[in-house]
């Protein structure tokens, strides 16, 4: 912790907890049948979004994935509007047009979750190009999964960003699964970070369950990017706590796909517990202070649910709105 400021650690803690409590609630709401469509929870991976976004400014950009709630919240997204969007309500970020897999908040540089695996990387690269052309010192971050690292968009984006020296940070959330298929079945390498060498950019591996470690590595990449030195690939090794999508038991019909050791590891390496412990252990804050944050977070999540529930559905006519600019 030596090199992390207490304020930063608490800031990150708030982000992690915010995501955790929000996602737990989303899971409950899904099970209760209150949510349309499908949701992919970010539980177990909070340290990545939180550690990354704490290193960013409001005017920095991120692009996200199908598992995007954590990225929206970590970037500073509003809980009410996020929850309302997941409900499909008019007050949601996208007026109910996007839903869980398509939340964006352009006012804080959150350029959108994305239902297409790998689809966000080219867009983050383009935001990086825009930064370079406009000669600002912003940075652009692309979140993506281990599965997405096998898409052509990964390759083309990293190469483009490196060839053009763009301020882009590619953050691979390696939770070791793409849906139900383990990464070891779909790639013949241990570490996705080695691919960085193929583009002439630095590649780092970081413990993605430790938000402070993530934060430290990302900080380096951010500095590099702001200095005009180009992109970085960061592989955060992490674990998906639950299934690929909520409700998957229904169609798994008793099939299993995770190794018991790996499930055990996902429980042990809980980013919230790890950070909680580090903060107490290194005296950044005491249990009481953390308990206050907990209560505040729980309340805000509960408020978001109330807000979403009480919000109106979009008017049917709005199906024809938000078309041509």
């Amino acid at each position: 912790m030596s090199d992390v400021q207490p304020a930063v650690a608490l800031d990150i803690y708030r982000r992690v907890l915010n995501i955790r409590r929000f996602e737990e609630e989303v899971g409950r709401l899904f099970t209760a049948g209150e949510l349309p469509g499908v949701v992919h929870l970010y539980i177990g991976e909070e340290a990545v979004a939180a550690g990354v976004c704490a290193a960013l400014r409001d005017d920095d950009y991120v692009t996200s994935t199908h598992r995007g709630h954590g990225h929206v919240l970590a970037k500073g997204g509003d809980l009410n509007r996020t929850m309302a969007e997941i409900f499909g309500k008019e007050t949601g970020y996208c007026r109910g047009k996007g839903g869980s897999q398509h939340i964006a908040d352009f006012s804080i540089g959150m350029l959108g979750a994305c239902g297409i695996v790998g689809g966000g990387m080219p867009i983050a690269t383009g935001a990086g190009l825009s930064i370079k052309l406009r000669k600002t010192d912003q940075v652009s971050v692309a979140f993506f999964g281990d599965g997405a690292a096998n898409e052509g968009s990964f390759h083309e984006s990293l190469n483009l960003a490196s060839a053009m020296t763009l301020p882009v940070i590619f953050v691979c959330e390696n939770n070791q699964y793409g849906e139900f298929t383990p990464a070891r079945d779909t790639m013949n390498i241990e570490d996705i970070a080695v691919r960085a060498g193929g583009y002439g950019m630095p590649g780092h591996i970081v413990d993605g369950t430790d938000a402070l470690e993530v934060h430290a590595v990302v900080n380096q990449a951010v500095t590099r990017a702001r200095n005009g030195e180009g992109p970085t690939l960061i592989e955060a090794k992490t674990h998906r706590r639950g299934g690929h999508a909520e409700g998957e038991e229904a169609f798994l019909a008793g099939q299993t796909y995770r190794l018991p050791e790996e499930e055990e590891m996902a429980r042990l390496r809980d980013p919230l517990l790890i950070l909680h412990e580090r903060i107490l252990h290194e005296g950044v804050a005491d249990a009481h202070a953390l308990e206050n944050i907990e209560q505040e977070t729980t309340r805000r999540v509960a408020d978001a649910v109330t807000f979403a529930r009480e919000s109106p559905w979009p008017a049917e006519e709005s199906v024809l709105e938000d078309t041509w600019a």
């Binding site: 239902g115 297409i116 599965g147 052509g152 139900f180 024809l320 078309t323």
Partner: protein, 326 residues
């Protein structure tokens, strides 16, 4: 006859052909556990070599299917959601559809691409687009959109035995629909429509998930004394133009109902064909009922407003009936 879900019918078709011909293999993302269940459990019977979980690499997986099909394998490629076909489109349009022709007939390509198609479960735009018109526009790719479990099984078996690239698009909304499906193997020829209901007043042409909605509309209209003939094309390419034209020559009125974006959609093609080939028999303007020309919205209330509803179909038929003869 036993009643089965559409995904089970699909699995039966795959099993039947994998048992019959060992060059048939199934590959795609997560085909073993299988979100859409059509390929689920097949690996237990046929092993990991013939039921292959691939990386998330639509372009290369599609291309690998082509390379395998050109060299002695009959791949069935499951690409999950239709929308993901965009990523594979270069290989499908530039290679699969063109290879035989471009190379002067040197090869055949026994190859099936399977995905779900269209909307209906609040999956949002990236998982809900109807893809069939794009492929109808591409030369030399066959396109199937079944509307019942029975058709799904018979058409898929035919598709697997076909020596050309075939796109098998299951309506997303169909997934858990049950219907009668014999346990035996049977085939349904590609390019043969099913007349779901006979009627003398107006012809409704449709496909896939809209088939049921058209039947609903027809029942409503029957109460008003309007008898609709409902044609479910089942395959969009090749397609049963003759059946459609025969019907329109009888009824003199035509409504095209299709769950796809409206411009250059399937309904456009059917309507144009009728206006070209059955014009002298038409007693009213043709009518099209398609999606609104917007991306598929997430919220259920918006999503259902974006696709053809039974009411919109009923209205279109009524408009047809009210039109003054020319």
């Amino acid at each position: 006859m036993p009643r089965k879900a559409s995904v089970d019918a699909i699995r039966e078709a795959l099993r039947s052909e994998m048992q019959r011909d060992e060059s048939v293999v199934v590959m795609g993302e997560d085909v073993k556990l299988a979100v859409f269940a059509g390929t689920r459990w097949l690996h237990r019977e046929f092993g990991d070599e013939r039921v292959i979980n691939t990386p998330i690499s639509e372009l290369a997986v599609a291309g690998a299917g082509i390379g395998a099909a050109a060299t002695g394998i009959r791949p069935v490629i499951d690409l999950m959601f239709g929308t993901f076909l965009y990523l594979a489109l270069d290989q499908i349009a530039n290679q699969a559809g063109a290879m035989r022709y471009m190379f002067g007939g040197q090869t055949k390509l026994p190859l099936v691409f399977m995905t779900v198609n269209g909307s209906g479960i609040s999956a949002g735009h990236h998982h809900s687009q109807p893809m069939h018109p794009l492929f109808m526009n591409m030369p030399l790719i066959k396109v199937i959109v079944p509307s019942t479990p029975y058709d799904a099984k018979g058409l898929l078996i035919t598709a697997i035995r076909d020596d050309n690239p075939v796109l098998f698009l299951s309506p997303l909304a169909l997934g858990s629909l049950r219907g009668e499906v014999p346990d035996e193997t049977y085939t349904i020829p590609l390019g043969e429509a099913a007349i779901r209901r006979e009627g003398d007043d107006v012809t409704i042409c449709t496909v896939g998930a809209m088939s049921r909605r058209c039947m609903e509309a027809a029942r409503t209209l029957a109460k008003e004394g309007i008898e609709c003939e409902v044609i479910d094309l089942r395959t969009l390419k090749p397609w049963d133009k003759a059946c459609l034209l025969r019907s329109v020559r009888k009824t003199g009125r035509f409504v095209a109902v299709d769950e796809s974006f409206p411009v250059c959609g399937a309904a456009s093609e059917w309507a144009a064909t009728v206006a070209e080939k059955a014009f002298q028999h038409l007693r009213a303007p043709v009518q099209r009922v398609s999606n609104l020309d917007v991306p598929l919205p997430f919220s259920p209330v918006l999503e259902s407003a974006a696709v053809p509803t039974t009411e919109r179909i009923v209205d279109a038929v009524r408009r047809c009936m009210q039109a003054e003869p020319a």
